[in-house]
């Protein structure tokens, strides 16, 4: 019980260490989602509109990768970025950038696969009309992405939830360095194992609160936008 009280006290007092950790976690996960969106939206849309040999296999792999184990992604990125790895010369291992790269890879299949599904469903509905209007390929992609924007928000949220909640990749490629690459989830893991349950619980409460807040905001935007655009 006293742990819970201390946890709320840490939050209420605006503990500097605690909020530095929150800031880092948020910026890493948001940047990762932004990167995954920049690649995943067009990738998913193009996959939805293109027919090529082996397409079914690509879709199965992509859907399967939605459940990639974070530690495996972490390990892969670790090998790529480690000093002897192919990207070792950039010295990115154990930096926030490495964590963004790893989380983006984790989130990318979610965004791309959900975008593919959403856009393909809408394409079935729009195909005749857009063909009759002589809409070109690039313009089709833009139209379909724009008109599925409300559904795509859900894909984005799923991606953010995954990034913000995972421990494995950031632990491996970030190294959990105090004040530099320590995030909410890695701190919770570390502090729990040290027996410092108050800080762990405080962070846990904030993490859940933030995820709820982001979802509530997205829901509000969705309602507001639906009202305006149908």
């Amino acid at each position: 019980m006293s742990n819970t009280v201390t946890a709320w006290h840490l939050i209420a007092s605006g503990d500097a260490t605690l909020f530095a950790i929150v800031r880092l976690s948020l910026s890493v996960s948001l940047a990762a989602v932004a990167a995954a969106v920049a690649i995943g939206l067009p990738l998913g849309a193009i996959l939805a509109l293109t027919r090529f040999p082996g397409r079914a296999a690509v879709i199965v792999v992509l859907n399967g990768f939605m459940g990639l184990p974070p530690v495996v992604v972490g390990l892969t990125v670790y090998l790529l970025l480690s000093r002897s790895g192919p990207l070792g010369e950039f010295g990115l291992l154990f930096t926030p950038t490495a964590m963004i790269i790893a989380q983006a890879l984790l989130v990318l299949p979610i965004i791309a696969a959900l975008t593919r599904q959403t856009v393909e469903d809408l394409w079935l509905e729009y195909r005749d009309e857009l063909s009759a209007m002589g809409v070109g390929r690039a313009s089709r992609v833009m139209t379909l992405l724009w008109d599925s924007r409300f559904s795509l928000v859900t894909a984005l949220l799923a991606g953010f939830g995954r990034a913000a909640a995972e421990v494995g990749t950031v632990m491996i490629v970030g190294g959990n360095i105090d004040g530099f690459t320590r995030t909410m989830t890695t701190t919770i893991a570390l502090e729990t194992s040290k027996g410092n349950l108050a800080l762990a619980m405080g962070l846990g409460i904030i993490l859940i609160f933030l995820i709820l807040l982001v979802n509530a905001a997205a829901w509000g935007v969705r309602l507001w936008a639906l009202e305006r655009a149908g």
Partner: protein
């Protein structure tokens, strides 16, 4: 928009359309020239929709050829189609029109003015900002019609545009179609409403089960049908 080349006459030469073992259209030859509206009539499942889609270029015939102004390849630039169930983009009514205008090559600066004109012309001027998918069935049909007219088509294909509308809405849509016809747009319209044929049609193409049974002037078709099937259809008997 309208270049010197023309999509008229639109000609089908011995055109068949099959899907698996099913014959949807069977060896149809017909020529659609400029002038008063051409009506494609026939019972459900006679192939009216497929014929319109072939005319639009959305389907390729299984055999035979379709030509537009003598050309076998013609992009949809001079044609527009109104589907029986119009697709509303998930945007406002005005944005639906502006989208059509944009893809028909209307300069950006003129789109807002043209959009309002088109919305006014179908009686939706006051609903410009309403999400298109929130409009009633009749309003959606009018919006889709305005979006098709935004392309300033030489040929406008209409697939039973009034099938699910009440008499007042039907009258409104018919007036828009007549106005387009008077301004030189060739109307090709599928319908099974004989009253509508009498009100609007110049000539009639009568299909039964994928075959072209009769092609005649509208008055002749309605008053002196040449085939027993057409006679039965005009009488209101059930034709299969």
């Amino acid at each position: 928009m309208r270049a010197a080349v023309s999509d008229l006459p639109l000609a089908l030469d011995d055109v068949s359309l099959t899907s698996g073992a099913t014959t949807i259209l069977d060896r149809i030859s017909l020529t659609i020239g400029p002038g008063a509206p051409t009506f494609v009539v026939g019972p459900n499942g006679s192939g009216k929709t497929s014929l319109l889609r072939l005319c639009m270029g959305l389907l390729a015939p299984s055999r035979g050829i379709v030509t537009w102004g003598g050309r076998t390849e013609s992009g949809p630039g001079r044609r527009a189609i109104l589907f029986q169930k119009p697709v509303m983009l998930r945007r406002s009514a005005a944005a639906n029109i502006a989208y059509g205008l944009g893809h028909a090559g209307c300069p950006r600066g003129e789109r807002a003015r043209r959009t309002q004109e088109l919305l006014d012309s179908v009686g939706l001027g006051a609903l410009a900002a309403r999400p298109a998918r929130r409009l009633s069935g009749g309003e959606q049909q009018r919006l889709a019609l305005a979006r098709a007219l935004a392309r300033q088509p030489e040929i406008l294909l209409l697939d039973e545009p009034t099938a699910s509308l009440d008499p007042a809405a039907t009258r409104f849509v018919e007036e828009i179609i007549l106005a387009a016809a008077r301004s030189g747009t060739k109307i090709v319209m599928a319908s099974h409403d004989l009253g509508q044929v009498r009100r609007l049609a110049g000539d009639v193409v009568f299909l039964v089960r994928g075959s072209l049974v009769e092609q005649a002037e509208a008055d002749a078709f309605l008053d002196r049908p040449a085939t027993p099937q057409a006679a039965a259809f005009v009488r209101g008997d059930l034709v299969f």
